[in-house]
Amino acid sequence: MVEPAHSPVLGGRIRGGGHVSDRTDPRANGGATAPVDGPGSGPDPGNPRTGDEPTGRRRARGIRNRLERRAIALFGLGTILLLVVLFYYPVATVFVEAVVVEGAVTLAVFLELLRDPFYFGDLARLFAGESPLAVASDLLSADRRIGIVGFTAYQAFLSTLLSVALGVPAAYVLARYEFRGRQTLRSLTVLPFVLPSIMVAVGFVATFGQNGTLNRLLGLVGLGPIELMFTLEAILIAHAFYNAPLVARVTTAAWESVDASAIETARSLGASPFRAFRDVVAPQLYPAVLMGAALTFVFTFGTFPIVLALGGFELATVEVFVYRLIQDLNYAEAAALAIVELVITLGILYGYLRYEANHVVRSRGVRPLPRRPLSPPSLSVRELAPRAGIAVYAAIALVVFVSPIVSMLYASVSGPNGLTLDHYRFLIDRQQTAAAFQVRPWPAIRNSLLFAAGALALALPMGVVVSVLTTRRYRGRKLVDAVAMAPLAVSGIIVGIGLLRGPVFGIELAGWQITMGGAAAIVAAHAVSCYPFVVRTVAPGLESVDRSLVESARALGASRARALYDVELPLVWPGVVAGAAFVVAISMGEFSSTVILATGTDQYTMPVAIERFIGRRLGPATAMGVVLLVVTSISFVIIDRLGGESFGI
């Protein structure tokens, strides 16, 4: 039955605003609505409806409410401001150098660049005004020249092919077969992405170098040493190491979201298994493979540490050459080249996004395809053939993905006379005996940790704010999205040189000389390059939070910012933690901007130290690489644990 009369539930309603104060007592009409318990069950007349909140408190609350209401906008503004100071302004100063020579705006630097066969090969003659037909015929002949830009595109194209070739079979195994450790293997595909590239380079030197694991193994079976270092092949394999798991990850996700009933429908309508795959599964996989390929091309087009370490200047890509030009203090040409690179990269990304907008099928697999056991249920050809293929693939994958890490670990503890800890001892000795210009291990470790912590403190709030800004609907959202995501497209070298020549050397502003410490600049560069990854991990979660949850909170009295804090953030917390782990790992492995900002200072990090060692002493480089691997892994695990324990969602 209904509550007895004078139930406290029937009390008056008090909430901030005063607009209810002029209401008449509903009890005046209580009888007409015929409460079951009789007239006594109307609202308690003794209860004030409003107005017992002291004016001062109310005013304070009003101010707080107003601040809270604007909180998201304020945070958004702050983030944009940080981006302007730490990214857009520095980068702009670099790009301006490409078009402003001695105070005058000119395209001369660009034109010179475009007409230089060194950069554009035979294509440069086209820009110089030669007939396209003559250029085309030369390009088709055997002794064509493609220049640095052409070579960069060429190696990126081959790297993409190799990554797709290695990634798609992995997706097939992960999506279609059940075996122990499948889940672990699936999560491991994220690992290469966060491994410091310079460390991977060390791993590849340890594997494919003259005295590397591969040649030793070949030597054991009496085969001559092969030279893979400073060849295109080494670069391609290293790129595949990075990007094939990326292709595998996005393809696996697409494959798993194929609804089994769609295939069953096709089969019941008369399609053969192959036909059903071609008509139902494949169309859902293409967009994912293409996305993996597009990202791979963009990443490998802008590759830097891997080519620097494995290719040297003989096989220089655009990015390596930008670095070289900067070392030669040829900023104008470096900036022009960087812009050319940026235009190509953005063009590809734009093309892909256009394609994605039209083609991506977002079907949430209600019932995913059943997985087959990896061990064959029978010994028929139909069962054995695909598994034999998988075995071959596994052997190749072992060489590409596992051997670099294992070789690095092994090389760090082996010397001419068998196992040794000499390389680690060298690091400790170097700590004591290093000359001023030599890098020492401990500051490298300490700096890496400090910079990672600083980058985390900056990138995490930035990433969360940008996620909020880009998942809400309002006019101009696309612009905010583009502004916030641009740092992904601009190379670390440009960010580094922009920060170095701008804030670090000092900015004149209203008569004040504003300078930024080298360490602060490195943290800024890391934060700017890391926060998009926080957005990547947080935004999808925010997007999928049920709108009615937020609306419920707001109807209950929470401001938009408060609803974000109380409801959305706790729900997307795993994404925030993952983002934090990304930030730490990427900051620790960041090389491009750090090497620019740390040159000639004692702000070097572990990756920079490794690069210094790699040419002369492979042993210590591998030892340093192991230290980097250990520190990165520990940080990764700590963050994961911290997040997991305090917010067990």
Partner: protein, 388 residues
Amino acid sequence: MRALASEEPDRSLEPLESRPPSTESPTEDRPIAVDLEGVTKRYAGTTAVDGVSLSVREGEFFTLVGPSGCGKTTTLRLIAGFESATDGAVRFHGEDVTGVPPEARDVGVVFQNYALFPHMSVGENVAYGLNFAEPPGGVSDDERVRELLELVDLEGMAEREPDRLSGGQQQRVAIARALAPGPDVLLLDEPMSALDAQLRERLRIQVKAIQKELDITTIYVTHDQEEALAISDRVAVMRDGTPEQVAPPREIYRRPGTRFVAEFVGDNNVFDGTVRSLGADGAVSVDIGPETFAVAPGEDDVAVDDGLAFCVRPENLVVEADSTGDPRTENVTQATVRSAEFLGETTRVHLEWQGQELLVRTRDLLSGEVLVGFDPEDAHVVSVDRTV
């Protein structure tokens, strides 16, 4: 569950002529709590809500009903402040709330999917609104949560995780959560749609009881016309972003204002004909094909040769199984039985008459040719198409 004498409209087969149709809402003389004036909401290319003007009185249970896409949910969201109107004004107690964010509107909202915060316990969910408002009645937050859980029959469930509850329990938690801060207006957006039929009927009785007990202004959105009739003081039947008729349930059912309302609310038979003559007693003779029917005059003036549509509810069509038998009523005509649906209490029979389908409700077994007729008083004119 605490039972409660409900005020469900009589849906039995017996005619209700003994009671005149109630055209008054029980809250008629109360001040207006929520008032919409020419409220319009346009999205790119579509108009979801088109010039809606409505007034909801204090303590009234007001329902927006209509087919999907009719703008009922958007109207509710405009009242809650989740959307802002392209045009027109929403007023609470006469005060324009345009630009007032939802958190300052003093509303409680219940969604179809419950929208419980999954990371909070039941008790924390109910207490959430108390972060921003003092509990009414001067009680502590804990006491308030206990009261509300008791009100929705979930005593002792405060520690539970929401996803451990059944759908009906979750929806009751959502109602308790919306009511905890003592809102001025309760807004419910299809709160029963996700529940099974039996549970839906039980919960709606409980919702109505709580609404009456708290005397809280309530605006309810549903696509289920039966639910709308069962629960409301007044109903607005919406179509294409505009209310077609706003009236108490009985009036909506018996005197549908438009053809759409006649066909949307309950089963109905709509007849289209031409006025042939006007009788001395005001009765109107209507020609449909070769037949002529007498219907009671509606409120509109009609003239000879006007087009006229009237409706007769299936339960008001009298059927005689023996086509040669004695008709018990006026307006008798012959029809053919096409199919029958046994519904338990009665059977709904589909007849074919002059190429049109007629629905009747009967307890008899029917087949072949039958006689159908109706009392002119049971015919309600829904539209007049004037010739002049």
